[in-house]
Protein backbone atom coordinates (compact mmCIF):
# COMPACT_ATOMS: atom_id res chain seq x y z
CA UNK A 1 0.00 0.00 0.00
CA UNK A 2 2.85 2.41 0.84
CA UNK A 3 4.45 1.77 -2.55
CA UNK A 4 1.16 2.47 -4.30
CA UNK A 5 0.67 5.63 -2.24
CA UNK A 6 4.13 6.81 -3.18
CA UNK A 7 3.43 6.07 -6.86
CA UNK A 8 0.17 7.99 -6.77
CA UNK A 9 1.87 10.87 -4.98
CA UNK A 10 4.46 11.10 -7.76
CA UNK A 11 1.71 11.24 -10.39
CA UNK A 12 -0.16 13.84 -8.37
CA UNK A 13 2.65 16.31 -7.69
CA UNK A 14 3.90 16.20 -11.29
CA UNK A 15 0.50 16.92 -12.80
CA UNK A 16 0.18 20.57 -13.85
CA UNK A 17 -3.63 20.54 -13.54
CA UNK A 18 -3.31 19.80 -9.81
CA UNK A 19 -1.24 22.95 -9.27
CA UNK A 20 -3.63 25.00 -11.38
CA UNK A 21 -6.62 23.85 -9.31
CA UNK A 22 -4.75 24.38 -6.03
CA UNK A 23 -3.55 27.84 -7.11
CA UNK A 24 -7.00 28.95 -8.27
CA UNK A 25 -8.56 27.56 -5.09
CA UNK A 26 -6.17 29.53 -2.85
CA UNK A 27 -6.56 32.67 -4.93
CA UNK A 28 -10.36 32.48 -4.78
CA UNK A 29 -10.23 31.73 -1.07
CA UNK A 30 -8.19 34.85 -0.38
CA UNK A 31 -10.29 36.94 -2.75
CA UNK A 32 -13.72 35.95 -1.43
CA UNK A 33 -13.01 35.46 2.26
CA UNK A 34 -10.42 38.19 2.83
CA UNK A 35 -9.90 40.67 -0.01
CA UNK A 36 -13.47 41.46 -1.10
CA UNK A 37 -14.84 41.65 2.47
CA UNK A 38 -11.91 43.92 3.35
CA UNK A 39 -12.68 46.20 0.38
CA UNK A 40 -16.33 46.23 1.49
CA UNK A 41 -15.23 47.21 5.01
CA UNK A 42 -13.05 50.02 3.64
CA UNK A 43 -15.87 51.24 1.46
CA UNK A 44 -18.54 51.05 4.19
CA UNK A 45 -20.61 54.21 4.42
CA UNK A 46 -21.05 54.19 8.21
CA UNK A 47 -19.02 53.12 11.24
CA UNK A 48 -21.51 50.53 12.48
CA UNK A 49 -21.57 48.75 9.13
CA UNK A 50 -17.78 48.93 8.92
CA UNK A 51 -17.41 47.38 12.37
CA UNK A 52 -19.75 44.56 11.42
CA UNK A 53 -17.78 43.89 8.23
CA UNK A 54 -14.41 44.03 10.01
CA UNK A 55 -15.29 41.68 12.86
CA UNK A 56 -15.17 38.33 10.92
CA UNK A 57 -11.89 39.35 9.25
CA UNK A 58 -9.96 39.65 12.50
CA UNK A 59 -7.66 36.88 13.80
CA UNK A 60 -10.04 36.16 16.70
CA UNK A 61 -12.64 34.90 14.19
CA UNK A 62 -10.13 32.94 12.14
CA UNK A 63 -11.32 29.43 13.06
CA UNK A 64 -14.82 29.93 11.69
CA UNK A 65 -14.16 32.55 9.02
CA UNK A 66 -11.29 30.78 7.26
CA UNK A 67 -13.52 27.86 6.21
CA UNK A 68 -16.59 29.78 5.11
CA UNK A 69 -15.76 29.10 1.47
CA UNK A 70 -15.37 25.35 1.88
CA UNK A 71 -18.98 24.06 1.78
CA UNK A 72 -19.94 25.52 -1.64
CA UNK A 73 -17.44 27.05 -4.04
CA UNK A 74 -14.35 25.67 -2.28
CA UNK A 75 -15.91 22.24 -2.33
CA UNK A 76 -16.83 22.53 -5.99
CA UNK A 77 -13.22 23.12 -7.08
CA UNK A 78 -12.03 20.28 -4.91
CA UNK A 79 -14.69 18.04 -6.45
CA UNK A 80 -13.08 18.88 -9.80
CA UNK A 81 -9.72 17.78 -8.39
CA UNK A 82 -11.12 14.41 -7.31
CA UNK A 83 -12.84 13.86 -10.64
CA UNK A 84 -9.67 14.78 -12.55
CA UNK A 85 -7.50 12.41 -10.57
CA UNK A 86 -9.72 9.35 -10.87
CA UNK A 87 -11.52 10.11 -14.13
CA UNK A 88 -8.43 10.77 -16.21
CA UNK A 89 -7.42 7.14 -15.77
CA UNK A 90 -10.33 6.25 -18.06
CA UNK A 91 -9.63 8.92 -20.66
CA UNK A 92 -5.96 8.04 -20.93
CA UNK A 93 -6.54 4.29 -20.71
CA UNK A 94 -4.07 4.13 -17.84
CA UNK A 95 -6.43 2.21 -15.56
CA UNK A 96 -5.79 -0.97 -17.55
CA UNK A 97 -2.04 -0.28 -17.51
CA UNK A 98 -2.05 0.08 -13.74
CA UNK A 99 -4.38 -2.80 -12.96
CA UNK A 100 -2.73 -5.26 -15.35
CA UNK A 101 0.71 -4.59 -13.93
CA UNK A 102 0.36 -5.03 -10.22
CA UNK A 103 -1.73 -3.32 -7.62
CA UNK A 104 -5.07 -4.80 -6.74
CA UNK A 105 -8.04 -2.62 -7.58
CA UNK A 106 -8.73 -1.64 -3.99
CA UNK A 107 -5.07 -0.92 -3.28
CA UNK A 108 -4.92 1.34 -6.31
CA UNK A 109 -8.16 3.09 -5.38
CA UNK A 110 -7.28 3.68 -1.75
CA UNK A 111 -3.80 4.88 -2.71
CA UNK A 112 -5.50 7.50 -4.89
CA UNK A 113 -7.85 8.50 -2.09
CA UNK A 114 -4.98 8.68 0.41
CA UNK A 115 -3.08 10.92 -2.00
CA UNK A 116 -6.08 13.21 -2.42
CA UNK A 117 -6.70 13.31 1.35
CA UNK A 118 -3.08 14.16 2.14
CA UNK A 119 -2.93 16.78 -0.62
CA UNK A 120 -6.10 18.38 0.77
CA UNK A 121 -4.56 18.38 4.25
CA UNK A 122 -1.57 20.26 2.86
CA UNK A 123 -3.88 22.66 1.03
CA UNK A 124 -5.89 23.36 4.19
CA UNK A 125 -2.69 24.07 6.15
CA UNK A 126 -1.47 26.49 3.47
CA UNK A 127 -4.92 28.10 3.30
CA UNK A 128 -5.01 28.63 7.07
CA UNK A 129 -1.51 30.07 7.00
CA UNK A 130 -2.53 32.55 4.29
CA UNK A 131 -5.82 33.39 6.04
CA UNK A 132 -3.93 33.97 9.30
CA UNK A 133 -1.50 36.27 7.56
CA UNK A 134 -4.34 38.16 5.89
CA UNK A 135 -6.24 38.54 9.18
CA UNK A 136 -3.13 39.87 10.93
CA UNK A 137 -2.54 42.39 8.14
CA UNK A 138 -6.18 43.47 8.27
CA UNK A 139 -6.06 43.83 12.08
CA UNK A 140 -2.88 45.90 11.83
CA UNK A 141 -4.35 48.14 9.13
CA UNK A 142 -7.45 48.69 11.31
CA UNK A 143 -5.34 49.24 14.43
CA UNK A 144 -7.07 46.38 16.25
CA UNK A 145 -5.27 44.39 18.90
CA UNK A 146 -4.28 40.88 17.82
CA UNK A 147 -6.31 38.18 19.50
CA UNK A 148 -6.07 34.61 18.17
CA UNK A 149 -8.46 31.69 18.70
CA UNK A 150 -7.26 28.79 20.85
CA UNK A 151 -5.16 26.05 19.27
CA UNK A 152 -8.03 23.61 19.84
CA UNK A 153 -10.48 25.83 17.99
CA UNK A 154 -8.04 26.21 15.11
CA UNK A 155 -7.39 22.47 14.98
CA UNK A 156 -11.13 21.77 14.99
CA UNK A 157 -11.69 24.24 12.16
CA UNK A 158 -8.86 22.79 10.10
CA UNK A 159 -10.10 19.24 10.68
CA UNK A 160 -13.66 20.23 9.76
CA UNK A 161 -12.44 22.05 6.66
CA UNK A 162 -10.36 19.04 5.64
CA UNK A 163 -13.29 16.69 6.18
CA UNK A 164 -15.65 18.82 4.09
CA UNK A 165 -13.17 19.01 1.22
CA UNK A 166 -12.42 15.27 1.41
CA UNK A 167 -16.16 14.60 1.20
CA UNK A 168 -16.45 16.66 -1.97
CA UNK A 169 -13.32 15.27 -3.59
CA UNK A 170 -14.59 11.73 -2.95
CA UNK A 171 -17.87 12.65 -4.60
CA UNK A 172 -15.89 13.84 -7.64
CA UNK A 173 -13.74 10.69 -7.66
CA UNK A 174 -16.65 8.29 -7.27
CA UNK A 175 -18.72 10.09 -9.94
CA UNK A 176 -15.78 9.85 -12.34
CA UNK A 177 -15.64 6.09 -11.71
CA UNK A 178 -19.40 5.78 -12.19
CA UNK A 179 -19.27 7.70 -15.49
CA UNK A 180 -15.82 6.43 -16.54
CA UNK A 181 -14.45 9.90 -17.21
CA UNK A 182 -14.10 13.47 -16.07
CA UNK A 183 -16.51 15.57 -18.13
CA UNK A 184 -19.89 14.23 -17.02
CA UNK A 185 -18.76 13.68 -13.43
CA UNK A 186 -17.51 17.27 -13.11
CA UNK A 187 -20.63 18.62 -14.79
CA UNK A 188 -23.06 16.72 -12.61
CA UNK A 189 -21.03 17.30 -9.45
CA UNK A 190 -20.95 21.06 -10.02
CA UNK A 191 -24.64 21.15 -10.85
CA UNK A 192 -25.33 19.39 -7.55
CA UNK A 193 -23.21 21.70 -5.40
CA UNK A 194 -23.86 25.00 -7.12
CA UNK A 195 -27.41 24.57 -8.39
CA UNK A 196 -29.35 21.75 -6.76
CA UNK A 197 -28.24 22.45 -3.19
CA UNK A 198 -28.95 26.17 -3.68
CA UNK A 199 -32.39 25.48 -5.08
CA UNK A 200 -33.14 23.16 -2.18
CA UNK A 201 -31.95 25.87 0.23
CA UNK A 202 -34.27 28.38 -1.45
CA UNK A 203 -37.24 26.01 -1.67
CA UNK A 204 -36.79 24.83 1.92
CA UNK A 205 -38.07 28.16 3.15
CA UNK A 206 -41.28 27.60 1.19
CA UNK A 207 -42.01 23.87 1.53
CA UNK A 208 -41.67 22.00 4.82
CA UNK A 209 -40.92 18.61 3.19
CA UNK A 210 -37.99 20.15 1.32
CA UNK A 211 -36.80 21.76 4.56
CA UNK A 212 -36.73 18.29 6.13
CA UNK A 213 -34.86 16.90 3.13
CA UNK A 214 -32.36 19.75 3.29
CA UNK A 215 -31.16 18.44 6.65
CA UNK A 216 -29.77 15.39 4.87
CA UNK A 217 -28.01 17.19 2.01
CA UNK A 218 -24.20 17.00 2.07
CA UNK A 219 -23.76 20.68 1.24
CA UNK A 220 -26.28 21.85 3.83
CA UNK A 221 -24.66 19.64 6.46
CA UNK A 222 -21.20 20.93 5.54
CA UNK A 223 -22.56 24.49 5.94
CA UNK A 224 -24.03 23.56 9.31
CA UNK A 225 -20.68 22.19 10.43
CA UNK A 226 -18.94 25.43 9.50
CA UNK A 227 -21.70 27.45 11.20
CA UNK A 228 -21.20 25.37 14.36
CA UNK A 229 -17.57 26.48 14.39
CA UNK A 230 -18.55 30.13 14.57
CA UNK A 231 -18.83 31.26 10.96
CA UNK A 232 -21.46 33.86 10.25
CA UNK A 233 -24.50 32.58 8.37
CA UNK A 234 -24.67 33.65 4.74
CA UNK A 235 -26.81 32.19 1.98
CA UNK A 236 -24.23 32.83 -0.74
CA UNK A 237 -21.64 30.65 1.05
CA UNK A 238 -24.14 28.01 2.14
CA UNK A 239 -23.43 28.63 5.81
CA UNK A 240 -26.53 28.05 7.93
CA UNK A 241 -27.23 26.01 11.02
CA UNK A 242 -29.74 23.67 9.38
CA UNK A 243 -28.77 20.90 11.80
CA UNK A 244 -26.73 20.81 15.00
CA UNK A 245 -22.94 20.72 14.90
CA UNK A 246 -22.68 17.10 16.02
CA UNK A 247 -25.33 15.95 13.55
CA UNK A 248 -23.57 17.87 10.80
CA UNK A 249 -20.27 16.24 11.68
CA UNK A 250 -21.76 12.74 11.59
CA UNK A 251 -23.52 13.48 8.35
CA UNK A 252 -20.34 14.72 6.65
CA UNK A 253 -18.41 11.68 7.93
CA UNK A 254 -21.12 9.33 6.64
CA UNK A 255 -21.23 11.02 3.25
CA UNK A 256 -17.44 10.78 3.04
CA UNK A 257 -17.59 7.04 3.74
CA UNK A 258 -20.52 6.59 1.37
CA UNK A 259 -18.82 8.37 -1.55
CA UNK A 260 -15.60 6.46 -0.90
CA UNK A 261 -17.42 3.13 -0.76
CA UNK A 262 -19.42 3.89 -3.92
CA UNK A 263 -16.24 4.34 -5.97
CA UNK A 264 -14.63 1.23 -4.44
CA UNK A 265 -17.60 -1.04 -5.13
CA UNK A 266 -17.96 0.06 -8.73
CA UNK A 267 -14.24 -0.10 -9.45
CA UNK A 268 -13.99 -3.60 -8.03
CA UNK A 269 -17.08 -4.98 -9.74
CA UNK A 270 -16.90 -3.46 -13.19
CA UNK A 271 -14.90 -4.60 -16.21
CA UNK A 272 -11.98 -2.43 -17.27
CA UNK A 273 -12.09 -1.84 -21.02
Amino acid sequence: MLGSYSGELLKFVKRPAVWVVAGVWLALLLAFTELFPYIAYRSASNTQLAAGLLQPLLPAQLSGHAITGYPVWGGSLILVLGALCSGSEYGWGTLKTMLSNRPGRLTFYFAQLATLASAIAALVIVAFALSSLASVLIARSANVELDFPTATALAQAMAAGWLILVMWTLLGASLSIVFRGTALSIGLGLVWILAVENLIRYTASLIDAVAQAEKFMPGADAGSLVAALGAASASQTGIAAVVSGSQALWSVVLYTLLFGALGAVILVRRDVQ
Partner: protein, 307 residues
Protein backbone atom coordinates in the same frame (compact mmCIF):
# COMPACT_ATOMS: atom_id res chain seq x y z
CA UNK B 1 0.01 -29.74 -15.31
CA UNK B 2 3.06 -28.33 -13.47
CA UNK B 3 4.55 -27.12 -16.75
CA UNK B 4 1.48 -25.07 -17.64
CA UNK B 5 1.91 -21.33 -17.12
CA UNK B 6 -1.50 -20.26 -18.33
CA UNK B 7 -4.65 -22.15 -19.13
CA UNK B 8 -8.21 -21.26 -19.85
CA UNK B 9 -11.17 -23.59 -19.67
CA UNK B 10 -14.32 -22.73 -21.59
CA UNK B 11 -13.55 -19.04 -21.26
CA UNK B 12 -16.54 -17.08 -22.52
CA UNK B 13 -17.47 -13.41 -22.63
CA UNK B 14 -20.83 -12.12 -23.74
CA UNK B 15 -21.86 -8.50 -24.18
CA UNK B 16 -25.62 -8.62 -24.31
CA UNK B 17 -26.51 -10.94 -27.16
CA UNK B 18 -23.07 -10.76 -28.75
CA UNK B 19 -20.53 -13.41 -27.79
CA UNK B 20 -17.04 -11.97 -27.98
CA UNK B 21 -15.22 -15.05 -26.71
CA UNK B 22 -16.86 -18.45 -26.90
CA UNK B 23 -15.55 -21.34 -24.80
CA UNK B 24 -11.86 -20.76 -25.44
CA UNK B 25 -9.41 -23.35 -24.08
CA UNK B 26 -5.79 -22.32 -24.45
CA UNK B 27 -2.75 -23.82 -22.81
CA UNK B 28 0.57 -21.99 -22.61
CA UNK B 29 3.48 -23.95 -21.18
CA UNK B 30 6.33 -22.52 -19.16
CA UNK B 31 9.18 -21.25 -21.30
CA UNK B 32 7.36 -21.21 -24.62
CA UNK B 33 6.44 -18.35 -26.89
CA UNK B 34 2.79 -18.75 -27.73
CA UNK B 35 1.33 -16.84 -30.65
CA UNK B 36 -2.30 -15.88 -30.37
CA UNK B 37 -3.67 -15.23 -33.84
CA UNK B 38 -6.93 -14.01 -35.20
CA UNK B 39 -8.42 -11.27 -37.35
CA UNK B 40 -9.51 -7.93 -35.89
CA UNK B 41 -12.44 -8.38 -33.55
CA UNK B 42 -11.94 -12.14 -33.25
CA UNK B 43 -11.75 -11.91 -29.45
CA UNK B 44 -7.99 -11.93 -28.83
CA UNK B 45 -7.85 -8.78 -26.71
CA UNK B 46 -10.98 -9.70 -24.76
CA UNK B 47 -9.38 -13.06 -23.97
CA UNK B 48 -6.19 -11.35 -22.80
CA UNK B 49 -8.21 -8.92 -20.66
CA UNK B 50 -9.96 -11.86 -19.00
CA UNK B 51 -6.65 -13.60 -18.39
CA UNK B 52 -5.36 -10.44 -16.67
CA UNK B 53 -8.50 -9.97 -14.59
CA UNK B 54 -9.50 -6.72 -16.27
CA UNK B 55 -12.68 -8.27 -17.61
CA UNK B 56 -14.76 -10.90 -15.84
CA UNK B 57 -15.70 -13.96 -17.88
CA UNK B 58 -19.38 -14.71 -18.45
CA UNK B 59 -18.47 -18.38 -18.13
CA UNK B 60 -15.38 -20.56 -17.82
CA UNK B 61 -12.21 -20.12 -15.84
CA UNK B 62 -8.59 -19.17 -16.30
CA UNK B 63 -5.49 -19.91 -14.27
CA UNK B 64 -2.36 -17.83 -14.64
CA UNK B 65 0.82 -18.98 -12.89
CA UNK B 66 -1.35 -20.98 -10.53
CA UNK B 67 -3.50 -17.98 -9.58
CA UNK B 68 -6.85 -16.59 -10.50
CA UNK B 69 -6.79 -13.75 -13.06
CA UNK B 70 -6.19 -10.35 -11.46
CA UNK B 71 -4.80 -11.80 -8.21
CA UNK B 72 -2.13 -9.27 -7.13
CA UNK B 73 0.27 -12.09 -6.20
CA UNK B 74 -0.10 -13.47 -9.72
CA UNK B 75 0.14 -10.05 -11.35
CA UNK B 76 3.44 -9.53 -9.53
CA UNK B 77 4.90 -12.24 -11.78
CA UNK B 78 3.24 -11.07 -15.01
CA UNK B 79 4.20 -8.25 -17.33
CA UNK B 80 1.51 -7.12 -19.70
CA UNK B 81 0.76 -4.71 -22.47
CA UNK B 82 -2.83 -4.92 -23.67
CA UNK B 83 -3.87 -3.16 -26.86
CA UNK B 84 -2.08 0.16 -27.25
CA UNK B 85 0.39 1.39 -24.66
CA UNK B 86 -1.36 3.80 -22.28
CA UNK B 87 0.56 6.08 -19.93
CA UNK B 88 0.26 9.46 -18.22
CA UNK B 89 0.83 12.02 -20.99
CA UNK B 90 2.29 14.73 -18.74
CA UNK B 91 4.91 12.41 -17.25
CA UNK B 92 8.19 11.43 -18.88
CA UNK B 93 8.83 7.82 -19.83
CA UNK B 94 11.09 7.54 -16.80
CA UNK B 95 8.47 8.91 -14.42
CA UNK B 96 5.77 6.71 -15.91
CA UNK B 97 7.88 3.65 -15.23
CA UNK B 98 8.79 5.04 -11.80
CA UNK B 99 5.08 5.19 -10.94
CA UNK B 100 4.63 1.57 -12.00
CA UNK B 101 7.80 0.55 -10.18
CA UNK B 102 6.58 2.10 -6.94
CA UNK B 103 3.23 0.36 -7.25
CA UNK B 104 4.98 -2.97 -7.85
CA UNK B 105 7.77 -2.42 -5.29
CA UNK B 106 10.40 -2.77 -8.00
CA UNK B 107 13.88 -1.33 -7.27
CA UNK B 108 14.52 2.02 -9.02
CA UNK B 109 17.58 0.92 -11.06
CA UNK B 110 15.33 -1.47 -12.94
CA UNK B 111 13.64 1.52 -14.61
CA UNK B 112 16.87 2.55 -16.33
CA UNK B 113 17.59 -1.07 -17.26
CA UNK B 114 14.32 -1.62 -19.10
CA UNK B 115 14.51 1.77 -20.82
CA UNK B 116 17.89 0.72 -22.19
CA UNK B 117 16.54 -2.69 -23.18
CA UNK B 118 13.84 -1.16 -25.40
CA UNK B 119 16.11 1.58 -26.75
CA UNK B 120 14.45 4.54 -25.05
CA UNK B 121 17.23 5.57 -22.66
CA UNK B 122 18.12 8.65 -24.70
CA UNK B 123 14.54 9.94 -24.69
CA UNK B 124 13.64 8.82 -21.17
CA UNK B 125 13.17 12.38 -19.94
CA UNK B 126 10.71 13.35 -22.68
CA UNK B 127 7.03 13.55 -21.93
CA UNK B 128 5.00 10.54 -23.05
CA UNK B 129 2.67 12.86 -25.00
CA UNK B 130 5.55 13.79 -27.30
CA UNK B 131 6.34 10.17 -28.20
CA UNK B 132 5.68 8.61 -31.60
CA UNK B 133 3.46 5.52 -31.79
CA UNK B 134 6.48 3.28 -32.05
CA UNK B 135 8.12 4.84 -28.98
CA UNK B 136 4.89 4.44 -27.05
CA UNK B 137 4.83 0.75 -27.94
CA UNK B 138 8.42 0.39 -26.78
CA UNK B 139 7.54 2.03 -23.49
CA UNK B 140 4.63 -0.37 -23.13
CA UNK B 141 7.01 -3.29 -23.54
CA UNK B 142 9.44 -1.67 -21.08
CA UNK B 143 6.63 -1.45 -18.53
CA UNK B 144 5.81 -5.11 -19.11
CA UNK B 145 9.46 -6.03 -18.49
CA UNK B 146 9.78 -3.87 -15.38
CA UNK B 147 9.10 -6.64 -12.85
CA UNK B 148 11.35 -9.11 -14.68
CA UNK B 149 8.22 -11.25 -14.98
CA UNK B 150 7.91 -14.99 -15.53
CA UNK B 151 5.08 -14.47 -17.97
CA UNK B 152 4.80 -11.72 -20.56
CA UNK B 153 1.49 -10.96 -22.20
CA UNK B 154 2.00 -8.73 -25.20
CA UNK B 155 -0.84 -7.57 -27.42
CA UNK B 156 0.42 -6.40 -30.81
CA UNK B 157 3.78 -5.16 -29.50
CA UNK B 158 5.09 -4.27 -32.97
CA UNK B 159 2.17 -2.00 -33.84
CA UNK B 160 3.52 1.30 -35.11
CA UNK B 161 7.14 0.17 -35.21
CA UNK B 162 9.24 0.69 -38.33
CA UNK B 163 10.90 -2.40 -39.89
CA UNK B 164 14.03 -1.91 -37.77
CA UNK B 165 11.95 -1.51 -34.65
CA UNK B 166 9.95 -4.63 -35.52
CA UNK B 167 13.13 -6.61 -36.02
CA UNK B 168 14.49 -5.33 -32.67
CA UNK B 169 11.24 -6.22 -30.92
CA UNK B 170 11.18 -9.71 -32.41
CA UNK B 171 14.81 -10.23 -31.37
CA UNK B 172 13.92 -9.09 -27.87
CA UNK B 173 10.94 -11.44 -27.62
CA UNK B 174 13.02 -14.33 -28.96
CA UNK B 175 15.76 -13.54 -26.47
CA UNK B 176 13.26 -13.48 -23.62
CA UNK B 177 11.99 -16.86 -24.77
CA UNK B 178 15.52 -18.25 -24.81
CA UNK B 179 16.04 -16.89 -21.29
CA UNK B 180 13.19 -19.12 -20.17
CA UNK B 181 10.41 -16.58 -19.96
CA UNK B 182 6.94 -17.51 -21.08
CA UNK B 183 5.46 -15.18 -23.68
CA UNK B 184 1.86 -14.96 -24.82
CA UNK B 185 2.02 -12.86 -27.95
CA UNK B 186 -1.03 -11.63 -29.77
CA UNK B 187 -0.17 -10.47 -33.24
CA UNK B 188 -1.40 -9.81 -36.74
CA UNK B 189 2.09 -10.17 -38.12
CA UNK B 190 2.10 -13.80 -39.18
CA UNK B 191 5.67 -13.75 -40.47
CA UNK B 192 6.82 -12.58 -37.04
CA UNK B 193 4.78 -15.26 -35.29
CA UNK B 194 6.12 -17.95 -37.63
CA UNK B 195 9.64 -16.75 -36.89
CA UNK B 196 9.53 -16.56 -33.09
CA UNK B 197 6.66 -18.64 -31.72
CA UNK B 198 6.71 -22.26 -30.62
CA UNK B 199 2.98 -22.81 -30.37
CA UNK B 200 0.06 -20.92 -31.80
CA UNK B 201 -3.62 -20.65 -31.08
CA UNK B 202 -5.96 -19.35 -33.74
CA UNK B 203 -9.22 -17.66 -32.86
CA UNK B 204 -12.05 -16.82 -35.25
CA UNK B 205 -15.31 -15.19 -34.22
CA UNK B 206 -14.54 -15.85 -30.57
CA UNK B 207 -13.80 -19.56 -31.00
CA UNK B 208 -10.40 -21.18 -30.78
CA UNK B 209 -10.21 -23.18 -34.01
CA UNK B 210 -6.66 -24.46 -33.80
CA UNK B 211 -3.93 -24.87 -31.24
CA UNK B 212 -0.70 -26.56 -32.21
CA UNK B 213 2.93 -26.02 -33.01
CA UNK B 214 3.66 -23.61 -35.84
CA UNK B 215 4.90 -26.46 -38.03
CA UNK B 216 1.78 -28.54 -37.44
CA UNK B 217 -0.38 -25.61 -38.37
CA UNK B 218 1.54 -24.96 -41.56
CA UNK B 219 1.30 -28.61 -42.50
CA UNK B 220 3.95 -30.64 -44.35
CA UNK B 221 5.82 -29.38 -47.35
CA UNK B 222 4.69 -30.38 -50.87
CA UNK B 223 6.56 -31.15 -54.07
CA UNK B 224 5.59 -28.92 -56.97
CA UNK B 225 6.29 -30.50 -60.36
CA UNK B 226 6.12 -29.14 -63.89
CA UNK B 227 6.21 -32.01 -66.39
CA UNK B 228 4.96 -33.02 -69.86
CA UNK B 229 2.81 -34.67 -70.77
CA UNK B 230 1.07 -33.59 -67.56
CA UNK B 231 -1.71 -36.21 -67.78
CA UNK B 232 0.84 -39.01 -67.95
CA UNK B 233 2.83 -37.55 -65.08
CA UNK B 234 -0.29 -37.17 -62.91
CA UNK B 235 -1.43 -40.72 -63.66
CA UNK B 236 1.98 -42.10 -62.82
CA UNK B 237 2.20 -40.12 -59.54
CA UNK B 238 -1.28 -41.22 -58.46
CA UNK B 239 -0.18 -44.79 -58.95
CA UNK B 240 2.98 -44.09 -57.02
CA UNK B 241 1.72 -42.18 -53.92
CA UNK B 242 -2.09 -42.34 -54.06
CA UNK B 243 -4.88 -40.15 -55.42
CA UNK B 244 -5.34 -38.20 -52.17
CA UNK B 245 -1.79 -36.88 -52.29
CA UNK B 246 -1.83 -35.55 -55.84
CA UNK B 247 -3.51 -32.46 -57.23
CA UNK B 248 -3.09 -30.28 -60.30
CA UNK B 249 -3.23 -26.52 -60.10
CA UNK B 250 -2.46 -24.22 -63.02
CA UNK B 251 -0.41 -26.81 -64.97
CA UNK B 252 1.60 -27.68 -61.87
CA UNK B 253 1.29 -30.98 -60.04
CA UNK B 254 1.35 -30.75 -56.25
CA UNK B 255 2.36 -33.90 -54.39
CA UNK B 256 1.99 -34.16 -50.61
CA UNK B 257 5.11 -36.14 -49.77
CA UNK B 258 8.22 -35.56 -47.72
CA UNK B 259 10.90 -33.45 -49.36
CA UNK B 260 13.51 -36.20 -49.19
CA UNK B 261 11.52 -38.25 -51.72
CA UNK B 262 12.03 -35.66 -54.44
CA UNK B 263 15.08 -37.32 -56.05
CA UNK B 264 13.37 -40.70 -56.19
CA UNK B 265 10.19 -39.26 -57.73
CA UNK B 266 12.20 -37.31 -60.27
CA UNK B 267 14.10 -40.45 -61.33
CA UNK B 268 10.93 -42.55 -61.62
CA UNK B 269 9.11 -39.92 -63.68
CA UNK B 270 12.04 -39.75 -66.11
CA UNK B 271 12.23 -43.53 -66.35
CA UNK B 272 8.47 -43.53 -67.10
CA UNK B 273 9.11 -41.27 -70.11
CA UNK B 274 7.93 -38.01 -68.59
CA UNK B 275 9.90 -34.84 -69.18
CA UNK B 276 10.45 -33.09 -65.86
CA UNK B 277 10.98 -29.32 -66.32
CA UNK B 278 10.86 -28.25 -62.71
CA UNK B 279 10.68 -29.98 -59.36
CA UNK B 280 10.83 -28.03 -56.14
CA UNK B 281 9.87 -28.36 -52.50
CA UNK B 282 7.31 -25.81 -51.37
CA UNK B 283 6.43 -25.04 -47.76
CA UNK B 284 3.20 -23.37 -46.77
CA UNK B 285 3.77 -20.23 -44.78
CA UNK B 286 1.84 -19.55 -41.59
CA UNK B 287 0.08 -16.77 -43.45
CA UNK B 288 -1.13 -19.17 -46.12
CA UNK B 289 -2.28 -21.60 -43.45
CA UNK B 290 -4.04 -18.78 -41.63
CA UNK B 291 -5.77 -17.54 -44.77
CA UNK B 292 -6.92 -21.06 -45.56
CA UNK B 293 -8.35 -21.33 -42.04
CA UNK B 294 -9.94 -17.93 -42.45
CA UNK B 295 -11.81 -19.17 -45.52
CA UNK B 296 -12.94 -22.26 -43.61
CA UNK B 297 -13.93 -20.78 -40.25
CA UNK B 298 -14.72 -17.15 -40.80
CA UNK B 299 -15.95 -17.20 -44.35
CA UNK B 300 -14.27 -13.85 -44.79
CA UNK B 301 -11.08 -12.14 -43.78
CA UNK B 302 -12.98 -9.89 -41.39
CA UNK B 303 -13.72 -10.49 -37.77
CA UNK B 304 -16.83 -10.91 -35.74
CA UNK B 305 -18.72 -8.61 -33.47
CA UNK B 306 -16.30 -9.02 -30.61
CA UNK B 307 -15.24 -5.98 -28.61
Amino acid sequence: MADVALSTHGLTKRYGKATAVDGVNITVRHGEIYGFLGPNGAGKTTTLRMVLGLVRPSAGTAEVLGRAPGDPAGLARIGAMVESAAFYPYLSARDNLEVLARHANVPRPRVADVLTTVGLAARAGDRFASYSLGMKQRLGVAAALLKDPELLILDEPTNGLDPFGMADMNDLISRLGHEGKTVLLSSHNLAEVQQICDHVGVIFKGKLVAQSTVDELRGSAVLVISATPIEQAEKYLVGLVGREKVSVERDMIRVNVDGHESASINRQLVLAGVEVHELRREERSLEEAFMAMSATYAGTRGGSDAR
